[in-house]
Amino acid sequence: MQDSTIQIENLVKVYHDRARGEVRAVDDITFSCRSGEIFGLLGPNGAGKTTTLRTVSTVLEPSSGTVRVMGIDARQDPVAVRRSIGFYSSTTALFPRLTARETLRFFAEVNGYPGEVRQRVEEVIHDLDLGSYADVRVDRLSQGMRQKVSLARTDIHDPPVLILDEPTTGLDVLNAREIRDRISILRDRGKTVLFSTHIMAEAEKLCDRIAIIHEGRLLGTGTLEEIRERTGERYLEDAFVKLLLRRGADG
């Protein structure tokens, strides 16, 4: 699979929690994403989406299995992997006392943007229409503006892969819509977007392909059409429930 930008094989993440004992947050998951597609990781809260994405971004080390990004093994060269991804989640905050321009410049430098940093920053500011807000401190921006800067920060070093963990969580309808539009634009520029959500409608609208996970296990992968075909259900929500029941019958 030459054109796979992200390859995840038999990924397992076990961790020990003092209150809950041993937890298998991710249990033998395999999937891969291609460039120029939006790949959605769909599942309820606590399904293992965040764990999977954090493992891809090398913040967590897998208990077993392999993660490859742009052909690089995440365990062998985590820094090279992080250089080729942009990671965003509802918990990755910005530095409140830096301005939008400073923030973008900072992350371009830290991620080792190969070209002229200043030029790239101005480009992105123009592209996102941040203009008049570029020199305002992040903590004085509105929630929606902050989200925009955050997304710009994720893409500032022009990585081939973007990993977005529940990017629309906590946003109002308009802001969420803007983020979704932005994700589509990034895909159209040839990037791989791996993103997670628990909102079925969002996955239906946005994703080229979907992986459904529940309690750390993969219930199914495919395009929306493929999943519909396999389950015989029109709506993703029904398909999800059907897959869940089928899994239960298997086990």
Binding site: K13, Y15, D17, R18, A19, R20, G21, V23, A25, N45, G46, G48, T50, T51, R54, S57, T58, V59, L60, V79, A80, R82, R83, I85, F87, S89, T91, T92, A93, L94, F95, P96, R97, L98, E102, R105, F106, F107, E109, V110, N111, G112, R137, R153, H157
Partner: protein
């Protein structure tokens, strides 16, 4: 090579941007820069003012004294002469004296109606030239009260006036009679400091510099360090950084450099600040008279660099270790105290760099700095010190990098599910705080019932500690048995525990010795403590009940059950055992008992963590107290056991802990409760 450039640009980018961010925080600036700049001179000015006021008071005191004994007239005369002498002599402060004639002078002194009582003793045949050899020197005895400022001043003033008078009289005698009959009785003493000008001041500075610098760095850098990892972790910007192409080590290093830069800036500002106040004449500081050459100053600064680096690394380590900003602040305090210990090395008499201290980071630099400022230091030893302390700084930095990277939990969206879990969570947050009012109450009750030990024990342990603990459990509706951990442990542990009790007493006798060395306790105070503590006249059953069983049950429920159990959920087992034993020590009020009690708490806490139950701790505590009571009644004195018994005791206790760990059947109390209620949301 290309990557080295990349690394430098990453580090400098994080450094510059985060520094900018830090400097834009007004609260940080105020806490780290402005406040210390105001506080230090304010403190110095205040202490100067207090000294002045006391001096003034001292000079205005009229010394009220009485004379006793068979040679009263003679004594009174001498005191009057001394007073006159000070009045006639321009260089002396003249004394205001007032003789009183109370009925019983010594009891008036005790009641504070008099400052001094004077008695002349062993006075026979004074100035008896003819009968040389049999003459006895008169001796004036001044009775004063060490617990009264005025009486103490009166003693010093009159004492030195009498001394002056004696010197003057002798000189006159020497001048009037050409021959010196007894040279030794005419010897006058004069003390002259032959140290070069400023050297004495330099010595003071030399001994204290490292301690002060370390203090400034820890105090000034802490606000920034706690924010840079623990604070950012809470806000989420740490996670953002961890997903960028910077390595953990680069990140830790750049953050450490920020702490270092801020701390050094604060340090330099402090010194400049002091110099400014000194040069304006507002302050007297040894800095002004020390006259340290610029070359030496530069060497000192170079020597102190690794100390600053290490200190900022330690701050960062705490910040990385803590799971929250709050926890970081809790961890900070004991670390700052511990950090001061090696920096105080130059204060210990007779310690030198060419000893084992060379291997102790910070302590070796502190000694080298003292050497540079007061004379000389072996350059090779100084260089080794520099490398050792700098190496420790790098090691700490790497450690912090590791902790920083492993700080994210796999799932962000895991929340407690059942109501009892939520209550348990609230309980573990508020229970430790409840010990503050309990401490205040114990303080009050101890002074209220200071003369009735039985009442004091019942009030402190039963009402305050046990009562407070039960109230907490009731408030959060938690089951008594499972929250405190009252499950029966494996029966196998009891014989080992029985052996561990005397072993523990033996080990703690070492701690006790250390403690009496640190907090000198007068023999009388000890006797008083024992007399009050034992109350040997009480029947044995009463002694054992009040001295052993009641405190064991109540204190274990409070310190090991409630405190250890709740702190453990937020800071982990090791820290919780330490914290609970320190608090346990603090509750015993006296400085000399703090360390031994904390040591006992350490062992008891460990037994709770290992067995998952507080029952072994209750039994251990009770047996420990009972045995200590019985031992103190006998002549058996375990205060200085030899090496072999000590090793045997340590082995016994280790064996007991080993058996506890191996036979453990139940998980820890509150953890078990939490786990059992996991499902029912």
């Amino acid at each position: 090579m290309a990557d080295r450039a990349g690394r430098l640009s990453r580090i400098s980018s994080v450094f510059l941007h985060q520094l900018k961010s830090v400097l834009r925080d007004r609260r940080t600036i105020f806490l780290a820069f402005v406040l210390p700049l105001l506080i230090v001179p304010a403190m110095i000015l205040l202490s100067g003012w207090i000294t002045d006021v006391r001096e003034e008071q001292r000079e205005s005191v009229e010394i009220e004294y009485a004379v006793v004994g068979p040679h009263g007239d003679r004594a009174a005369n001498m005191v009057r002469l001394a007073g006159q002498h000070t009045a006639e002599n321009d260089t002396l402060t003249s004394l205001a004296l007032k003789e009183e004639t109370p009925e019983s002078p010594l009891s008036s002194l005790a009641d504070g109606e008099l400052h001094l009582v004077v008695r002349l003793v062993r006075s026979s045949k004074i100035h008896s030239e003819g009968e040389s050899g049999t003459s006895k020197t008169p001796m004036l005895v001044l009775y004063y009260r060490g617990d009264s400022d005025e009486s103490g001043w009166a003693m010093e003033e009159l004492g030195s006036a009498l001394e002056e008078l004696r010197t003057a009289q002798r000189r006159e005698l020497l001048l009037s009679s050409a021959t010196v009959t007894k040279p030794d009785s005419f010897m006058a003493l004069q003390l002259t400091d032959v140290a070069p000008e400023g050297r004495a001041a330099a010595y003071t500075i030399g001994r204290l510099t490292t301690l002060f610098v370390l203090f400034f760095i820890l105090a000034g850098g802490s606000v920034v360090a706690m924010d840079l990892v623990a604070g950012e972790r809470e806000r989420g910007s740490l996670e953002t950084l961890l997903t960028t192409a910077i390595t953990r080590r680069e990140l830790a290093l750049s953050k450490q450099l920020i702490v270092l830069a801020i701390a050094l800036a604060i340090c330099i500002l402090q010194v400049l600040n002091l110099l400014l106040y000194t040069s304006l004449g507002l302050l007297d500081s040894p800095l002004a008279e020390a006259a340290i050459s610029p070359a030496r100053l530069i060497v000192v600064l170079l020597l102190l660099l690794p100390v600053a680096f290490l200190a900022s690394g330690i701050l960062l380590l705490i910040s990385s270790r803590a799971r929250s900003y709050r926890e970081a602040q809790i961890l900070l305090f004991p670390v700052v105290l511990l950090g001061a210990v090696p920096a105080a090395a130059p204060l210990i008499p007779g310690i030198s760099l060419s000893s084992a201290v060379l291997a102790v980071p910070v302590a070796n630099i502190a000694l080298a700095v003292r050497g540079v400022l007061t004379g000389g230091v072996n350059p090779a030893l100084a260089a080794v010190s520099w490398i050792i302390t700098g190496g420790a700084g790098i090691a700490v930095s790497l450690w912090a990098a590791r902790l920083m990277g492993s700080s994210l939990s796999p799932e962000a969206d895991v929340l407690p599910t059942s109501p009892i879990q939520l209550r348990l969570r609230l309980f573990s947050k508020s229970a430790p705080r409840a010990f503050l009012p309990m401490f205040a109450l114990v303080l009050v009750s101890s002074s209220l019932f200071s003369d009735d030990l039985a009442l004091q024990i019942i009030a402190n342990t039963v009402l305050i500690l046990l009562g407070g603990s039960l109230l907490l459990l009731k408030r959060y509706r938690l089951p008594l048995r499972e929250t405190l951990g009252l499950q029966l442990p494996s029966p196998l542990i009891w014989p080992f525990l029985g052996a561990a009790v005397p072993a523990g007493i033996l080990l703690s006798s070492h701690i006790y010795r250390l403690s009496t060395a640190l907090f000198p306790t007068s023999a009388r105070m000890m006797e008083e403590m024992y007399a009050r503590g034992i109350g040997l006249d009480a029947p044995l059953w009463q002694l054992l009940l009040l001295g052993a069983i009641v405190p064991a049950v109540c204190e274990e429920a409070a310190f090991r059950g409630v405190l250890l159990g709740s702190v453990r959920r937020t800071v982990g087992s090791v820290s919780a055992v330490i914290v609970s034993s320190l608090v346990f020590g603090l509750f015993h009020m006296t400085a000399v008992r703090f360390l031994p009690t904390a040591f006992l708490g350490l062992m008891l806490g460990l037994s709770v963590v290992l067995t998952g139950s507080i029952l072994p701790a209750i039994v251990w505590h009770a047996l420990n107290n009972a045995l200590a009571l019985i031992l103190s009644g006998t002549s058996l004195d375990p205060t200085s056991p030899g090496t072999l018994p000590t090793l045997a005791a340590a082995a016994t206790i280790s064996a007991a802990f080993y058996v506890m760990a191996r036979t453990r059947s139940a998980p820890s109390p509150q953890v078990a409760l939490d786990r059992r209620h996991r499902g029912d949301g």
